[in-house]
């Protein structure tokens, strides 16, 4: 049976949903093993067992986080050797893709990014050109490295749990030599909202919010949604660049995308057109966003959104 190595990087107190999805996919492909980095807390160790991890690897060096990408790729390459894995699953974040990229060169392994589904034979399905095409791709090498987008599968615990014993993987001493060092790190204030690229619901604003994201934030909090923005809104400085959705920002595929005051030019569409349901509110009936909206409202977002928020809160009691 194929061994499938899942990379889980510094989860803190609980595994992210994206990691649970990787473990679920790993079980559908073969025997799951975990290459772990960071402090392994009890709750996380228990969750790895519930999701059927047969083997658990930890690095011999603790300071991998002080460097960018390189040493983590070296650790994973050693973990692949130790575990005999033929498939490696990594999160589809920017760092995840870079780790996968360097790992691919170290192993001589094909890397496929932006994967949304994996067949039992390892064939990957991915969306390209901002979701305008779906392709079927495979690695032609003995080992395949796949980075999988969040919300690709529903996480499911294993039928039979496990209690894997950690094994140490020797990280080569040369791993940190040619790597960039992190010399200072400042945490940003937590918004309390879900992470944009993982969120089930996204409320996004553009030029039409005219500097006031208040009504969008109220609606987002009533729905448990993340806040996004078009480039016009981030360039205007109304909201941080991290919130930008589109060609030069993040790509999201939530269950529900509520677009408010965004015209929906092609660059913005590129970041959100794979959303399951799109709702658009815009004053201008000619906005391109209405061509792709499942439900469109020609109206003033400062009237429509507060009324919707009030109605949701009323229904929730």
């Amino acid at each position: 049976m194929a061994k499938v190595l899942v990379f889980i990087d510094t989860p803190g107190e609980a595994l992210k949903k994206a990691s649970l999805e990787l473990l679920t996919i790993a079980r559908s492909l073969g025997e799951p093993a975990v290459a772990f980095n960071g402090e392994l807390q009890d709750g996380v160790a228990a969750a790895l067992g519930e999701y059927g991890a047969q083997a658990l690897y930890r690095p011999s060096a603790a300071e991998l986080d002080d460097y960018l990408v390189g040493p983590k790729a070296s650790y994973l390459a050693a973990a692949v050797q130790d575990s005999g894995a033929s498939v490696v699953l990594v999160e589809n974040s920017a760092e995840g893709k870079e780790i996968a990229a360097r790992l691919g060169i170290k192993l001589g392994a094909g890397v496929i990014t932006d994967v949304v589904a994996v067949d039992p034979d390892g064939t990957a399905h991915k969306s390209v050109l901002a979701g305008s095409y779906m392709t079927t791709a495979r690695a032609t090498t003995p080992v395949a490295v796949l980075t999988v987008k969040p919300n690709s599968v529903t996480p499911e615990p294993a039928v039979t749990g496990t209690a894997p014993q950690p094994a140490t993987v020797e990280v080569p001493e040369t791993a940190t030599a040619a790597s960039a060092r992190v010399t200072a790190r400042s945490d940003k204030p937590a918004s309390g909202r879900p992470e944009l690229s993982e969120a089930r619901i996204v409320v996004a604003g553009g030029r039409g919010v005219d500097g006031n994201f208040g009504p969008l934030e109220d609606l987002a909090d009533a729905l448990g949604a993340a806040i996004g923005a078009s480039r016009a809104a981030t360039d205007a400085g109304w909201i941080g660049h991290d919130a930008q959705i589109g060609q030069t920002g993040k790509t999201v595929s939530p269950q529900l995308y509520i677009s408010a005051g965004i015209s929906g030019a092609i660059q913005q569409k590129a970041g959100m057109q794979t959303a399951k349901v799109i709702v658009a509110v815009n004053k201008d009936a000619e906005s391109p966003v209405f061509e792709i909206a499942d439900f469109g409202i020609v109206g003033d977002l400062f009237e429509v959104l507060p009324q919707a928020t009030e109605e949701i809160l009323k229904r929730k009691g």
Partner: protein
Amino acid sequence: MEETLKIIVLVKHVPDAQFDRHLGGADNTTDRSESILSELDEYALEAALQLIEARGGEAAGNKVIALSMGPAGAVNAVKKSLQIGATEGVHLSDAALAGSDAAATSLALAAAVRHLGADTPADLVLTGMASTDGETSLVPAQLAERLGLPQVTFASSLALDGGKLTARRDGGTHADTVEADLPALVSVTDQINEPRYPNFKGIMAAKKKTITTLTLADIGVDPAHVGLAGSWTAVDAAEPRPPRTAGTIITDEGDAGIRLVEFLAAQKLL
């Protein structure tokens, strides 16, 4: 007196994102017939120009080399880079490169970077934050791995101090200050600067600048190691996603917020 700088900027010609983009051919590769210099590469070029200008520019012996790999049309990205201000241009072009995936592309680019550094190695390899077409974002990291260089990606600021670089990276939950020894590979975001436009003087000056065309033989790469045959991934099928169609559009008559919630409830999204 500071050392002179030699910076290689990777530039790419990409299908214009303003238009519909297509995959085609038996190997499902991207149709680049309507191509431009990738907007995101202009930030890398600008960053390179600012770095050499801070050290006296070309007159002081500093150099910015624009390097592009691709078929005949790719030379347009190099020409545009020269008009904006690159010192010289290099076009890596070989029929055997067609269909290369990220691994094969990075192999050829690594050989080209080594070739261009044969006399004096480059201090920096700069790229944009992503290509606007393939979007795999693998090539910069794979190039760094092949060259054994530290990589600093998504830099929103970049400064050099002697043989070291310092950069800022903004992540979703934290911002990092990072440091790396030169030579290094850096990708920059669209927050790092405001790229300049080519002016008349630049356009005229570009006509006198050299564009060197390199083939795989020039850089010592076996054609079997690139292209479709040398790639480690294969795309077996490509299906255009069915276009989204417009749904219900209403005009607010004072109750649109409530009708929105009714729609969400009917879709089981509350």
